[in-house]
């Protein structure tokens, strides 16, 4: 007999308590609002920044679709904790636009401090929108000690994000360039320009594909085609004008209309993103893949996703190049630590590690000429991080962000309806 007196009173209370504890206790713990760190000005002396950053936690909102990148972010967290007593928490996002939206909501409800994001991985359209809405804090980028190592001249994308001047509101992190890759063992020579793709695809039906816009690689391919086919490139570096849009894009649509019947699945289906496209290459469903990371092929070989005979190349006329950045939200609670983090990300040590194809393979934003001999050696030691194959890795600048939105919309209207 396990009966006890007054059991029903006891158990009633237990039940009610159980209900609330089971569902609420672990939850409420995490719901506490964050306290602000000491306030810091963007132009504070660096040793003050370092001092203020101690003990802070940086909530870093970063796209988390790639395990390699996640592992790299975890590594920076480990280093920052050891050297600067800064904790880094990776807020894994699927889409940076969502982060910008949350900031917008914060702004609208007057939440000027105690924000839950301290650092955000951003570029292009999201930066443009965030900047216009006053969601970013700064200017801080030029005040970072490692800023002077950035290759602002050789890589103009580090200061001009999709034609928008960064004005110190974001700090460059890595370079990206539209890069194609293939398996040289299959004996096909891939096309080296956009117009050549049409002939190649006609000769090899079903062996080529690109991700469906608005995927960022898919839209990059469309922009690349437009850059090569348009008569006057300069219009792409201004906000687009409705009246001219049709005329400027006519050659693009003519090209795509002709290309699509020769694509994978006759253009009736598209891979979701570049990683799906890479998988198609590995599965021998297609013979060409593309990525924004010039080291994608080398990294995939190192990771066992692609055969060692894989090669990557840039189109002869150059391909779109851009830069990705980190920015600090206007209501970040740990601005000092965010600055220290951004600065560490610019360090030769962190940049060299990032460029390593065994780690991530993301090209550096730094200028080798500005580095010490010792730091240059770090980069020299890396296994072939640069594109393999002829020609220079010639970069084309990103068009104005307004084009991206309009092109994606127009593409969907033509091919996804």
């Amino acid at each position: 007999m396990k009966d006890r007196p007054a059991l029903s009173d006891l158990t009633r209370r237990q039940t009610l308590a159980g209900l609330s504890i089971a569902s609420m206790l672990p939850l409420t713990l995490s719901a506490c609002a964050r306290a602000d760190g000491p306030d810091i000005a963007p132009d504070a002396p660096w040793d003050e920044v370092i001092a203020a950053a101690r003990g802070q936690t940086v909530n870093w909102a970063a796209w988390a679709g790639d395990p390699k990148i996640n592992a790299y972010i975890a590594w920076t967290g480990a280093v920052l904790r050891k050297r600067f007593d800064i904790a880094v928490r990776h807020i894994k996002t699927g889409d940076t636009a969502n982060t910008v939206q949350t900031l917008l909501a914060d702004k609208a409800s007057g939440r000027a401090a105690g924000g839950r994001t301290d650092l955000v991985w951003i570029n292009g359209e999201n930066f443009n929108a965030a900047r216009k809405a006053g969601l970013l804090w700064g200017p801080f980028a030029q005040r970072l000690p490692h800023w002077r190592l950035v290759d602002t001249e050789g890589k103009p994308a580090t200061v001009s994000d999709f034609t928008i001047p960064i004005e110190g509101y974001e700090s460059p992190w890595g370079m990206a360039q539209l890069t194609f890759f293939y398996d040289s063992a299959r004996g096909t020579m891939p096309p080296r320009s956009v117009p050549a793709m049409l002939d190649w695809a006609a000769a090899h039906p079903g062996r080529m594909a690109y991700p469906a816009p608005p995927d960022f690689v898919g839209i990059a391919f469309v922009k690349q085609a437009l850059l090569e086919l348009i008569t006057d490139r300069s219009v792409l570096y201004r906000p687009f004008a409705d009246a001219e849009f049709a005329a400027h894009t006519r050659p693009l649509w003519a090209f795509l209309d002709a290309l699509h019947p020769h694509l994978w699945r006759k253009g009736r289906a598209y891979p979701h993103d570049y990683r799906a496209l890479r998988q198609l290459l590995e599965d021998r469903e297609v013979d060409i893949a593309m990525s924004f990371n010039p080291s994608e092929a080398a990294t995939a070989v190192a990771g066992g996703f692609l055969p060692p005979s894989s090669r990557s190349y840039i189109l002869d006329g150059g391909t779109i190049q851009n830069c990705h950045f980190v920015a600090i939200p206007f209501n970040a609670a740990a601005k000092a630590a965010a600055m220290v983090t951004a600065n560490f990300l610019l360090s030769p040590e962190a940049q060299a590690r990032k460029a390593d194809t065994k780690v991530w393979g993301d090209p550096t934003v730094l200028d080798p000429a500005k580095l010490s001999a010792e730091d240059r050696a770090r980069f020299a030691a890396l296994a072939a991080p640069q594109p393999i194959g002829g020609g220079e890795a010639k970069g084309l600048l990103e068009p104005h962000p307004s084009w991206q939105v309009k092109l994606a919309e127009a593409w969907r209207a033509r091919y996804a309806s």
């Binding site: 007999m1 009966d3 007196p5 059991l7």
Partner: protein, 213 residues
Amino acid sequence: MKAGLTLSNVTIAIGTRHLAGPLSVHVRPGETLSLMGPSGSGKSSLIAHVSGVLDPAFTAGGSIMLDGAVLDGVPVERRRIGVLFQDDLLFAHMTVAENLAFAVPRAVNRHERWQRVQAALHEAELPGIAARRPETLSGGQRARVALMRALLAEPRALLLDEPFARLDMALRERIRAFTFATIASRGIPALLVTHDRKDVPGRLMEIGGEELV
């Protein structure tokens, strides 16, 4: 104070349809009053009403008194009225002893509780089944355990809703005798709903009709 169970002008209806009553009767301590009537005449509803578990879809009128106290509004667990159904409804997840101990009033201490359980098993001539599960018992054993369980709750009245209907003829005779004898010896009033005239131990009442004897 008048000992026993008293119904005065009790009526049962569902919606606007009249089911039973008005019914006025007094059941003396130790007496078993039998209720008979065709299906749907409200016998089971009457039992439910007296025990305090009438479905809200039904309406009841009149009043019920037990040992001189009005029962209306008293929650079922405080009425101290035992009910036996056609099925014994032993709790399947408990042993026989646990079933019985469940019924012993809560103020009773552990030691005393066990003694009462043992005494009940002895009285019902059910030695050695204390640790068994209900589903391992025979029909007769189960019926007796159910009765003893109802009695261990120290009821002031007992309601029997065709408790013998499921038993075979031979068993029925024995259980019936045992039940009525026990009720008489405890001196509690009982209401018996039945379809079988052989079940009737004493006074009989036709529901909706006249009191016969």
